[in-house]
């Protein structure tokens, strides 16, 4: 019996109420193993962002449950949850001119008392997080002046500063160009390898999943199409079912992982 660090059972979610309710997720049951990198893959509107938000506790399920370490997520105190699960949103816009260090220090919030100020230990953790994401040199810079890739890595550092075991990322590379995609990929791989962080990524980038994720959950129209190890699950049939596109999936020697090449509309 595999031990799942995060598990959903018959999870459903509706947006809106009553007659205008739209079912976004239906009966999603999946399990995330500790220390794995899992991709939630699906086209736009498949419900993967909603699923991620349910997994982070921001949304409450319409039916079904989300369990974290066998505890019901909705019953967990917010601070406890924040200490175990950190979220990296797709885009972060700071209304005010915070520095990089200030942005990262905000990740320490779940560990501090209501009027407690960050101490030396918190500063160390924050700086270590910046190191881990390769952004240590940006410490005094204003967050708003950074490039897209730098911003994303700083936000990841902020999530790292939360010192949680699990990291949920929503479309982490969608807004980034190739170079920064590589940077973020490398950071996540490193985290997983060195700290054993469980990483869950919601994305529609097939090659990102192929390069990074050990497990993948395919979502279509709010339901799970297939889930399992990437090598088995990310195949031409499933891709056709998911995207209506014929694709060639093969192992790339030099890259060291699967690659997906879309060929034609089905």
């Amino acid at each position: 019996m595999k031990r799942y660090v995060l598990e959903t059972r018959d999870l459903s979610f509706d947006y809106g109420r009553g007659a205008r309710a739209a079912r976004v997720l239906s009966n999603v049951s999946l399990g995330i193993e500790g220390g794995s990198i899992v991709g939630l893959l699906g086209p736009n509107g498949s419900g993967k962002t909603t699923l991620l938000r349910l997994m982070s506790g921001v949304l409450t399920p319409s039916s079904g449950r989300v369990m974290l370490d066998n505890h019901l997520l909705t019953k967990m105190p917010r601070r406890d949850l924040a200490r175990r699960v950190a979220v990296v949103p797709q885009e972060t816009r700071a209304t005010f001119d915070f520095t990089v260090l200030e942005m990262v220090l905000m990740g320490r919030y779940p560990h501090l008392g209501p009027f407690e100020l960050e101490g030396a230990a918190d500063m160390e953790i924050a700086r270590a997080a910046l190191e881990a994401t390769g952004t240590a040199g940006l410490e005094g810079r204003q967050f708003a002046t950074l490039s897209g890739g730098e911003k994303q890595r700083v936000v990841i550092a902020g999530a790292l500063a939360q010192a949680s075991d699990m990291l949920l990322l929503d479309e982490p590379t969608t807004a980034l160009d190739l170079r920064y995609q590589f940077e973020v990929l490398a950071v996540l791989k490193n985290l997983n390898a060195s700290r054993g962080t469980t990483v869950v990524i919601s994305t529609h980038d097939l090659n990102l999943v192929a390069a990074l994720c050990q497990q993948v959950v395919l979502l279509k129209d709010g339901s799970v199409l297939a889930q399992g190890p990437t090598a088995d699950t990310l195949n031409a049939d499933n891709i056709r079912a998911l995207y209506d596109v014929d694709a060639d999936v093969r192992f790339h020697e030099r890259a060291g992982h699967l690659t997906v090449v879309p060929l034609a509309r089905h």
Binding site: L81, A82, F98, T99, M103, Y109, P110, P114, L117, E139
Partner: protein, 345 residues
Amino acid sequence: MPGTEYSLARGTSTVRSRLAWTLAGFGILALGACLLAPLAGGTSISLRNVFDRAQPYATNIDAQIFFIARLPRVIAAALVGSALALSGVVFQALLRNPLASPDTLGVSAGASLGAMLAITFNADVSIGGLSTVPLASFTGSLGALAIVYGLSVIRRGGTSTMVLLLGGVTLTALLSAVMGFVQFVADFTQTFRNVRWMMGSLDVASYAPIVAALVPMAFACAGFATLPRVLDLISVGAESAAARGVDVARTERVALISASLATGAAVSLAGPVAFIGIIVPHLVRLIVGADHRLVLPASALFGATLLIACDVVARTIMAPLELPVGIVTALVGAPVFLWLLFRRA
């Protein structure tokens, strides 16, 4: 874009040391303003006379000018200035909009409408030491708060700040239209009184209205005290904040109510005073950075200082006549605001 370095030792110093420096610096400024302001005015008085115990108070003009005319004014200016500045900071964070101000959500307009209705319909109610117009004004602000609060609660989930912002702007427009109508039906004297009230005045001449305003301010400050760190988190994103353990809905409620109470107290004490609520947060952020644990207390102190200074100018620049303080804050505030806008662009 603004530079990467700021004064007051940012970046590597801890929040604790920066907080200490901030409070010390702004505190000294505010204290200085409080001590010097009562000495300034259209009439020259002698401090020796003011504190001369030998003269009976009942005939000591200098002492009475100091303790009745000037000191309450300075205290009222400090109270109103800090209330408006604090509300400005909180509204800007709550609405995630650096252009927000205490006027944005209509609380200020509600207070003005309350005052206008009391003036135009010659209402005559007084409770305790408070006369009709301030009472009606505060009631108006509570009414506006109730409407805005109701709006924010009706819509569950989704972007509540958008609803809040649009609702507040619409409410302000609606209340302004009603005020226009009230002006229309008012007679000559009432219109004159309305216009005077709208220009703002700190000439309270007694301590009773100040004590009365302290009551809602105390509640507001109790709310403000819980907000600094969570405002930082929320201003980066409501969902990020929630994912970090912030009770976003509750925080927004506390922020809305506290800032509205403070605004209501300020406007009913002194009338609508322009620009303090919107420029003080920006000026303070230029000096101490964006961390609300610094910005909130610093804004309170700087708002007090600024309004005290504006009131001194209002009292002395056309001596023996006195300008309404709202005119001075507008003449000072508008160019500063434009400058801030150009800096950002």
